[in-house]
């Protein structure tokens, strides 16, 4: 007999992401993904100056600040057919890569590692064996026995003080936890070390963007980073070399720790390469433009359908009609008035809440579609599309990672394993490796361009009368983000943001096609319906970010997350 599980954390005034699954015979048979809060923040942009839009969009979400700022200025520049100076492009690129590095390190170590790592088990690890194991896998200097002993002592003291609550979302002792104590201890050590490196990556964003988390250096038409190599107050050689030094540090961590840990976890949870694939249509934006108009990119983007890498099709420029004309959003199962499937420029969102209906409306999230197809977005889509398009850098990191996983697992693991829950983690680590290389390359291009005497950073926008339409995309940490703007007589007439988590977390559409979260859960094993760790593993692998809106703290912690089993 089937059981219904609802996971619905009420961590803010209103709930956000809610997942329902029906379990029968030990695995998931049906699923629903629902956003539990109306956002519609786009509405407040109407009538505003398009040059200010990025300041507002940056506040959509406190985690994805930079990405909404970038997509917004790109959308307005696209509407005006405005190119930006090469320096501006490169400075934005370094910020994006550094932001992505920060985000991916935090995601793996601080937000999702506990789905796989049993912290309590680490207490019974032998530090000497842990160190020996770690040193057999990596040249990282901070894997010594003393380091592991110190971490174990910290953990023991923490448990002693009764503070284990931070790991409350980890289900220690769960039958699906498979790592030996030594690997768990190693993961806790790197969990702590990762704090330093996510902070370093963030520092790069701050050095270029001004105070983080809300960067201040953007403008429609370029950036506001005055360049004068001899001036302390501007972007100068000293700052540039500080950035380079930090980048080197972060890259070492990614190469010697993050990529190694993900390979080890992947190899030890090889069964999870069989679960979680769901939707194998992939969409990714080309990113890191190399010219002023956005027609040449360092990492290619495009579409793959039905997992067929040979049939990949590229998105080739900021103006590409292949992307522009194929995006739509459907509301058949969303709490809006009507049952349409419209292009973002044409949307007129009218909220209309009803109760939850399994076969009717059950989410505030819309269902984005590309040429009518459901698409998975994110690091996996990004890496698979780039791999399929033959990008050398991506091929190198994918190859290195699969080789490492194969060596640890003692069996050959090929690219097909990437279409899975664990594959999304592997792709994110691969992408971090790629981002570090890209950031260093673009740093070099920036220094070289400035060396030629080019200090241009800004082309002023002018707004003609009449109507202009623009779109701006960005391959953000969670996948392709696009902003769509309609400008009339210099003011915003319509604005829509189609965000990565909408692509992935969206509900069914008018044809009944499940969204990627929903599809990825089908067939997942559930060992214990009271502790559905497997659901969390698959959902967390996407790095959901729907909690974009409000932030009321609950210091007294009376409300508990709802987990209902019917």
């Amino acid at each position: 007999m089937s059981k219904r599980i609802t996971v619905d954390p009420i961590t803010r005034i209103e709930g956000h992401l809610r997942i329902d699954v029906e379990v029968d015979g030990g695995s998931v048979k049906n699923s629903w993904s629902s956003g539990q809060m109306f956002r519609g923040i786009e509405i407040m942009l109407k009538g505003r100056d398009p040059r200010d839009a990025w300041l507002f969009t940056q506040r959509f979400c406190g985690v994805c600040t930079t990405v909404h700022a970038i997509a917004s200025v790109r959308a307005v520049e696209n509407a005006l057919k405005l190119e930006i100076p090469l320096n501006a492009q490169l400075i934005r690129n370094i910020i994006m890569a550094a932001h992505g590095l920060h985000d991916h390190i935090v995601h793996f170590y601080h937000l999702s590692a506990l789905d796989w790592v049993d912290v309590v088990s680490a207490l019974s690890a032998d530090p000497a064996k842990t160190s020996a194991l770690a040193e057999s896998l990596s040249a990282w200097p901070r894997n010594s026995r003393r380091e592991m002993e110190a971490v174990k002592a910290k953990l023991a003291a923490f448990v002693e003080r009764g503070q284990l609550g931070i790991f409350a979302n980890g289900y220690w002792g769960h039958p699906a936890m498979k790592l030996p104590p030594e690997v768990n201890l190693l993961a806790v050590a790197h969990y702590l070390q990762a704090l330093e490196y996510q902070q370093k990556a963030n520092k790069i964003v701050a050095l270029l963007g001004g105070k983080t988390p809300n960067i201040q250096n953007l403008a429609v038409g370029g950036v506001a980073n005055a360049i004068n190599l001899d001036n302390q107050a501007t972007l100068n050689m000293e700052k540039l070399f500080t950035i380079k030094d930090i980048l080197d540090d972060v890259q070492t961590f990614v190469e010697q720790v993050y990529l190694v840990d993900v390979a080890a976890v992947g190899a030890m949870y090889a069964d999870w390469t069989k679960y979680g694939s769901g939707v194998t249509n992939y969409l990714a934006a080309p990113e890191f433009p190399l010219d002023t108009a956005g027609t040449k990119f360092d990492i290619p983007g495009g579409t793959v359908f039905d997992g067929d890498l040979a049939g990949v099709k590229a998105i080739t420029s900021f103006q590409d009609p292949y992307f522009r004309d194929n995006v739509s959003e459907a509301i058949a199962h969303s709490w809006y008035d009507g049952d349409w499937n419209k292009h973002p420029w044409e949307e007129d969102t009218v909220p209309k809440y009803s109760e939850w209906q399994d076969d009717g409306k059950y989410s505030w999230v819309k269902a984005p579609r590309f040429a009518g197809r459901v698409m998975q977005v994110g690091p996996l889509a990004n890496m698979l599309v780039a791999f399929a398009l033959g990008d050398e850098l991506v091929k190198r990191y994918v190859g290195l990672t699969l080789d490492r996983v194969s060596a640890i697992a003692g069996a050959r693991v090929g690219p097909a394993a990437l279409h899975s829950t664990i594959g999304r983690h592997a792709a994110r680590a691969v992408r971090a490796g790629v981002f570090a290389e890209v950031a260093k390359k673009h740093w070099g291009l920036l220094v070289e361009n400035i060396g030629k005497g080019d200090t241009a950073i800004f082309n002023p926008p002018t707004f003609p009368s009449g109507e202009q339409r623009g779109f701006g995309f960005h391959e953000a940490p969670r996948g392709i983000l696009s902003h769509w703007v309609v400008i009339q007589n210099g003011k915003i007439a319509n604005y829509q943001a189609v965000v990565p988590s909408t692509w992935n977390a969206g509900p069914r559409d008018e044809k009944g096609q499940r969204g990627p979260y929903e599809a990825s859960l089908i067939g997942n094993p559930i060992a214990d319906v009271e502790r559905p760790l497997e659901v969390l593993r698959t959902i967390h692998s996407f790095d959901p970010c729907l909690a974009c809106a409000i932030h009321t703290l609950d210091p007294e912690g009376k409300e508990l997350s709802r987990l209902r089993v019917l």
Binding site: I550, T552, D554
Partner: protein
């Protein structure tokens, strides 16, 4: 994030948390920006409108002597009530299990740093009970009226910590850019 210390090495951060596009949730950023406009702070004190960073809060509170957070809070009290919480109270109940990784991360950030041994020594949360946290760039009346009281609590705490702020004469205008109506800019 900025590693600024007073001459004696003291480091204190005042962080205004919240989303300025969500009505009363803009309380924290409003208080932070008003403080910046109206006061001068000593070299070891940083004041920041930090938005809603979730667990990304961690690097901003690392190695502090004292942390003062201003945010809206859920509490059984009328809108506009100001509630104060210290570290021990914040850590008395465990953080909630999360589905999305970006829920408010104050408790988790503090606990993560407790484990690592570099959490702020002292923590004060100045909390204000919201009336409505939904789309909009204005504070409700009760929360608007609580801004000055929340500010006073921050200033009192800075004084207690031995790093008092000095009023600017005349006070500056806070940069509450989000509060302008469309078309007025």
């Amino acid at each position: 994030m900025e590693d600024v210390r007073a001459a004696d090495g003291t480091r204190v951060a005042v962080l205004g948390l919240g989303n300025v596009l969500m009505g009363d949730d803009g309380l924290g950023p409003t208080v932070a920006r008003r403080l910046l406009a109206r006061c001068e702070f000593g070299p070891g004190v940083s004041v920041l409108d930090i938005g809603t960073p979730g667990l990304d809060l961690t690097p901003y509170i690392l190695d502090l002597d004292a942390l003062i957070v201003v945010d809206t809070v859920r509490a059984d009290a009328p809108p506009g009530s100001v509630r104060l919480y210290r570290k021990a109270e914040l850590l008395a109940t465990p953080p909630q299990p999360r589905l999305s990784p970006h829920d408010p991360g104050l408790k988790e950030a503090l606990l993560l740093l407790e484990l690592d041994g570099n959490a702020p020594v002292e923590v004060l949360l100045v909390g204000v009970v919201p009336e409505r946290s939904e789309m909009g760039t204005e504070l409700s009346r009760p929360v608007g009226e609580a801004v000055a009281r929340a500010e006073a609590q921050v200033l009192r705490e800075l004084e207690r910590l031995g790093v008092p702020a000095v009023p600017r004469v005349p006070p500056g205008d806070p940069d509450l850019w989000w509060a302008s109506a469309p078309g007025s800019g």
